[in-house]
């Protein structure tokens, strides 16, 4: 299998689907000649022309509103926002229109659209361009939220997202774009709502997503030297959440740590923990469930503070050690 970047995997998924399905088109700011804020759509304008790679004015409400409308009349739009932070400008068309239409029209209208959202900190882009807002989207019935961590998952899940009949928010952590991984040449799709065990272990379950998968994997390597065996579960789709896979893992290890970059308060770590406590895995927990999340602050501009505001590998190692040593 060839190794490609996460950026390339998303690019390939869009290109292949657009070649396969004439209804699929991409719209967003600077996605044409410039190739997108993170270069994901580079070269697409040349192949598909301005009819299918649509440069929009600087209005997120217009982008999402137009995408929702196009989806309702039979198109398969992909809307790219430069930064996930700007989703607030488009909450009305996304939440009140796109998310509701299929339900309110008794299934007669479908809204097969994908909103691609570059998220997260680590690029020195400060508080208004670094947020992880997936929890806000997860709270809305009618929206699916996908957050892949590897090139393989990104391509397979984006294919499924484009074919889904509901609005899908596709969260791409900015630091993932350059990460490489094996992706098959032949067509494949990963069903939405299925978690993936990224590393098998027996002592503790870490549930993480996006860039935190990679930090957790690094932490697991370090912990392995101390004889601590970490299991890492990547939900991949945050809504619908694959509670079964998580609960099964917790039953095996008896410990759960949820790691995400989004801030702690009302973050999705709480949702995972609550869901687990509602399963029979509760009876297998041998330490309080813990979450390691972004601090409850806006992402600072100063790069040291920026790093301190979100979980790092050392933090994960420290937290896991405290948990397996019964310090909580």
């Amino acid at each position: 299998m060839p190794e490609i970047t996460y950026r390339q995997a998303i690019h390939d998924a869009m290109v292949e689907e657009m070649r396969r399905d004439q209804r699929v088109f991409l719209m967003g700011e600077d996605i044409g000649t410039y190739g997108g804020a993170f270069g994901v759509s580079a070269g697409m304008l040349e192949e598909f022309g301005p009819e299918r790679v649509v440069e929009t004015p600087i209005s997120e409400e217009a982008i999402i509103g137009a995408a929702a409308g196009a989806a309702m009349v039979g198109m398969r739009p992909i809307a790219e926002l430069m930064f996930m932070d700007f989703i607030f400008l488009a909450m009305e068309p996304l939440v009140n229109q796109a998310a509701k239409a299929r339900y309110m029209f008794g299934g007669k209208a479908t809204v097969p659209m994908v909103v691609r959202l570059p998220s997260g900190s680590g690029t020195g882009a400060a508080a208004q361009h670094s947020q992880s807002l997936e929890t806000i989207l997860m709270h809305i019935p009618g929206i699916k939220v996908v957050a892949p961590s590897t090139p393989y998952d990104a391509k397979g899940l984006l294919i499924s997202s484009m074919r889904d009949l509901n609005p899908v928010c596709f969260v791409e952590h900015k630091l993932l774009y350059k990460i490489k991984g094996e992706v098959p040449i032949e067509e494949y799709a990963i069903p939405l709502g299925l978690a993936d065990i990224k590393r098998e272990g027996r002592d503790i379950t870490i549930v993480a997503s996006g860039i935190m998968i990679h930090k957790s994997l690094d932490a697991a390597e370090i912990l392995n030297e101390d004889g601590i065996s970490v299991e890492i579960v990547d939900p991949r789709t945050l809504r619908p959440l694959d509670v079964d896979t998580i609960a099964k893992s917790v039953k095996k290890t008896g410990r759960l740590l949820v790691v995400h970059e989004a801030v702690k308060t009302a973050g999705w770590a709480g949702e995972v923990m609550a869901s687990v406590s509602e399963t029979s895995s509760w009876d297998y927990l041998d330490t309080p469930m813990r979450r390691l999340t972004g601090k409850d602050v806006p992402i600072p501009y100063n790069r040291h503070l920026e790093a301190a505001a979100v979980p790092q590998v050392d933090d994960i190692v420290r937290e896991v050690l405290a948990m397996v040593n019964n310090q909580y």
């Binding site: 008896g254 509760w282 009876d283 297998y284 927990l285 041998d286 330490t287 019964n326 310090q327 909580y328």
Partner: protein, 444 residues
């Protein structure tokens, strides 16, 4: 005459006020209109100004005390006045006229506290109605953390849950049917962890095994006197006595029934299966004198008495108390004697007589579920009977190959071939088995 310092009434419906803090102390010089006290009402914190200039004296209430409004709380001494001029009964209410009330003005939050505290700590203390003097603090100033831990220490939570335990520990305890409060928790705050339950259950199981050694692996133990004696005697016996072993399987149905009937006939102490066995063995030994014989100094001595030893495990090792003249005792006597000897053995109180002069030994490991085993003869005796567990199993009961489930028991006789030949041993064992299967033969 000293000017009475009266606690003003701040609100129409106010009855009491709390003195937050005296800004001046007894003896301090005060100026009329100068703030002297910080007070707290239900609504605000205010300053109370001095009603006159002079020296503060006769202070009747301290910080944080609740005072009825319009009451004298102190006096201001005039120029030439001393404490001697204070009224006789300080604290006694004096009639107060409304217009003489000093002016109280809403003030900023207290600017200084007697005990230094951070502004946040002060605000918290105020909100929680805490006396800052009561708050322990490690640093120079009382901090927010100090207030928080003080508040926490005041909290007395009575929980429905008596023993803190993780959900996994609770589940394991329930499955193992052990009570959590018996288990020492090693988690934070004594919380019972899964490992604690597992360890407790394993430990308890070990203890329930009979005569569990309190030794740990890896230990080297010097031989106790009793172990040394066991070692010497068993080695000597095994090396010098040519053992032969014969095994027979007995249908214990009749024996069990007979013992049950005997126990039903009387309310006296129950007859044990071992006692039953001793009685039948004694009967058989009487009929097979070579089994009740000793080999000493190249001579075979056929003993008159039938003294049956019962191998008994005790913490220190093994001891063999003896039922003397077992052939002349009733089953009940044997049973009572056995119980007594077992108690004495466990208490380490057996007398020399009680373990001497055995002529034959029975070793029963049936209670451990052992089916069959061989035993080493206890010299100078020439035979030992190893008895296994009674197990219900299918056996062919007649010539028509009918299979029935019967309570079966294996017995293995160890015999000294110098005294007892195979056929002799077999004859004894066959008769013993027959007597167990058909108890009536004892009457014939």
């Amino acid at each position: 005459m000293p000017t009475p310092f009266i606690m003003p009434k701040m609100d129409m419906d106010q009855e009491t006020v709390v003195i937050n803090e005296w800004l001046k102390s007894e003896g301090d010089q005060v100026e009329k209109g100068e703030p002297v006290i910080l007070i707290e009402t239900d609504k605000i914190t205010s300053e109370v100004e001095a009603p006159a200039s002079g020296r503060l004296a006769g202070v009747l209430y301290g910080d944080n005390e609740e005072v009825t409004v319009t009451q004298v709380i102190a006096y201001i001494l005039g120029k030439d006045e001393t404490e001697a001029d204070l009224p006789e009964q300080p604290g006694k209410k004096e009639p107060v006229v409304e217009e003489s009330l000093p002016q109280a003005q809403p003030a900023a939050k207290p600017e200084r506290a007697r005990k230094s505290a951070t502004p946040v700590a002060k605000r918290m203390a105020e909100a929680e109605n805490i006396d800052l003097e009561q708050v322990p603090s490690a640093g120079d100033k009382i901090t927010k953390e100090d207030i928080e831990s003080y508040l926490e220490s005041l909290e007395q939570v009575t929980s429905r849950v008596q023993t803190p335990a993780t959900p996994a520990a609770r589940r394991l305890a329930m499955e193992a049917e052990v009570l959590l409060d018996q288990i020492e928790g090693t988690g934070p705050g004594g919380r019972v962890q899964a490992d604690d339950v597992t360890a407790f259950v394993a430990h308890t199981a070990e203890r329930q095994l009979p005569h569990k050694a309190v030794f740990s692996a890896g230990e080297t133990l010097p031989l106790s006197r009793i172990r040394k004696r066991i070692a010497e005697r068993m080695t000597a016996s095994y090396q010098t006595t040519p053992h032969i072993y014969l095994t027979v399987e007995v249908d214990m149905y009749e024996a069990e029934q007979s013992r049950k009937r005997m126990n039903q006939l009387s309310d006296e102490s129950l007859i044990s299966m071992t006692a039953y066995l001793v009685r039948v063995v004694a009967w058989a030994l009487k009929r097979h004198p070579f089994l009740n014989a000793g080999f000493e100094d190249d001579q075979i001595k056929l003993w008159e008495d039938v003294n049956i030893g019962i191998a008994t495990a005790i913490d220190e090792g093994l001891i063999v108390p003896v039922i003397h003249n077992a052939d002349q005792k009733s089953i009940r006597e044997i049973s009572q004697r056995l119980r007594y000897l077992a108690e004495q053995a466990r208490a380490g109180a057996l007398t020399r007589e009680e373990i001497q002069d055995g002529t034959f030994t029975i070793s029963n490991l049936g209670m451990y579920g052992i089916q069959n085993f061989t035993a080493i003869i206890n010299p100078p005796q020439s035979a030992i009977l190893a008895v296994g567990a009674i197990q219900r199993k299918p056996v062919v009961v007649d010539d028509a190959d009918t299979i029935q489930v019967r309570p079966m028991m294996m017995m293995t006789l160890g015999a000294d071939h110098r005294v007892i030949d195979g056929a002799v041993a077999a004859a004894f064992l066959a008769e013993l088995a027959g007597a167990l299967e058909t108890p009536e033969v004892l009457l014939m």
